[in-house]
């Protein structure tokens, strides 16, 4: 309940924050909404000497459309994403996923950048980021780079972010016509995190066949991933119940499933298959052809 001592620094701009990171090196941690880091610090599981607060940097907050993409600033809170008219109409899967994170208070403070950088294996956002093939922009003193979602999540609580980099935004391609989506999760009863969460996004062609299928799964393995075996099993097919079921049966293929007191590896894998099937069915059922 009582964090160890540290020095707090509020950055007014990305540039200033990058300077601080350079100055303090490994002793510094970035603080955005604080809903991943502060809980660890209260238990003294994390004891950084310096905190660089980027939550107040105006450039990092907000949602904008830019060159056919939707760009969300790294310090944008979940509540803003869930409630944004632009996101809800053009990137509904992300809005739905953001609304499923934690609770009202958490969504009022937690940020997309903070969630992704922390990369908790049971976090909700990564499932949608994977399904939506989000692109993560990382800035450092030496410039900026963009990392694709699939390359961003590296391992258990490990991302592609290098020391000295700041996650400044995530960008997405809006949903196209004849697209349906949903995010379904099996909630861990105590924490509200996902035991398994499945983000499904399906676009049908004019004949009603699956043209494009994207499935992002969180909670199952050490990192959120795209269930490509499911996607390819369904792509080009008519979305009939049996076909969806056969495709969803591949949801846990090749994944070394996590186990804890809430679900064994075997049960997690089964949940991934069941929720994938249901998410695909639900996503497809919402499409108006």
């Amino acid at each position: 309940m009582f964090p160890a001592r540290f020095q707090y620094h509020r950055a007014g701009s990305v540039k200033e924050a990058l300077g601080m990171l350079q100055q303090f090196g490994d002793d510094a941690k970035l603080l955005s909404g604080g809903h991943s880091l502060l809980p660890m610090m209260k238990l003294r599981l994390a004891q950084p000497a310096h905190l660089v607060d980027i939550g107040g940097i105006n450039d990092l907050v907000g949602i904008r459309e830019e060159g056919g993409k939707i760009v969300i600033g790294g310090a944008t809170i979940h509540d803003q994403v869930a409630g944004s008219a632009v996101i809800r109409s053009k990137l509904g899967l992300l809005a739905e996923c953001a609304a499923a994170i934690g609770d009202i208070q958490v969504r009022n403070r937690g940020t997309i950048g903070g969630s992704l950088a922390h990369s908790d294996p049971a976090a909700d956002y990564p499932a949608a980021i994977q399904a939506l093939e989000g692109e993560i922009r990382l800035e450092s003193g030496s410039g900026a780079r963009t990392v694709k979602a699939n390359d961003f999540f590296v391992d258990l609580m490990t991302t592609a972010i290098k020391p000295g980099e700041i996650l400044t935004s995530v960008s997405f391609t809006p949903h196209t016509a004849r697209t349906g989506y949903t995010y379904l999760k099996h909630r861990q009863p105590a924490s509200g995190f996902a035991v398994v969460g499945v983000a499904a996004l399906v676009t049908l062609d004019t004949k009603g066949n699956c043209e494009r299928v994207r499935v992002g799964i969180t909670g199952l393995g050490p990192k959120a991933f795209r269930a490509t075996a499911v996607e390819s099993a369904l792509t080009g097919k008519k979305p009939e119940a049996a076909t969806i079921g056969q495709a969803a049966a591949h949801a846990a293929d090749g994944i070394d499933a996590l186990a804890d007191i809430h679900a064994s590896a075997e049960f997690r894998a089964e949940l991934a298959r069941v929720y994938t099937r249901r998410a695909l069915q639900q996503a497809i059922s919402t499409i108006k052809v």
Binding site: M1, F2, P3, A4, R5, F6, Q7, Y8, R10, L31, G34, H35, L38, P39, K42, L43, L51, D53, G55, D79, G102, D103, I104, Q105, V106, N108, R109, A190, S191, G192
Partner: protein, 160 residues
């Protein structure tokens, strides 16, 4: 470091340790002990306050992060001696027993009602995801929030 914030309409400025949590600032420095600490893991919601009008868990915000913010705590809900409708609702509908979770419940309810003036039972249950109560089994809390909603909508109908 120095932090300055407006709490229940009154500005104050204090020298605090960088590591001080907002909830400790409110309770120990500002002497507003209505906001409670119920867990260490940002889960129970007893510490919920409004920060710039939005419900937040003050155990998971540094006082430093709240520098410059407008904070409303349970002590700031009643105006001119008149209870806020959510306070009235909790009293009328027996929405509390031991009272420990209540301040957080009240603050969360004000945020909820600012978003949704006519929440269903299911809406309220969902909105309470971040607030634990061990005494009431929640049903009277749901009635209390609906009472407040009716009152705030100016609907005089009595509770069901």
């Amino acid at each position: 470091m120095r932090v300055t914030m407006t709490i229940n309409g009154q500005q104050r400025s204090d020298e605090v340790e960088d590591r001080m949590l907002l909830v400790h600032y409110l309770r120990e420095v500002a002497q507003l002990t209505g906001t409670h600490v119920g867990c260490e893991t940002s889960l129970c919601g007893a510490c919920t306050v409004l920060m710039n009008g939005k419900a937040v868990k003050s155990c998971t915000v540094l006082a430093a992060q709240a520098d410059g913010a407008q904070i409303t705590t349970v002590e700031g809900l009643a105006k001119d001696g008149e209870l806020h409708p959510v306070q009235e609702g909790f009293w009328e509908e027996h929405g509390l027993q031991c009272g420990f979770c209540t301040p957080g419940m009240l603050m969360l309810a004000t945020d909820l009602l600012s978003r949704n003036p006519d929440p269903s039972e299911a809406d309220i249950r969902h909105a309470l995801d971040g607030n634990l109560c061990r005494c009431t089994g929640y049903q009277h809390i749901i009635n209390a929030v609906q009472y407040a909603a009716r009152k705030m909508r100016g609907d005089a109908r009595k509770s069901a």
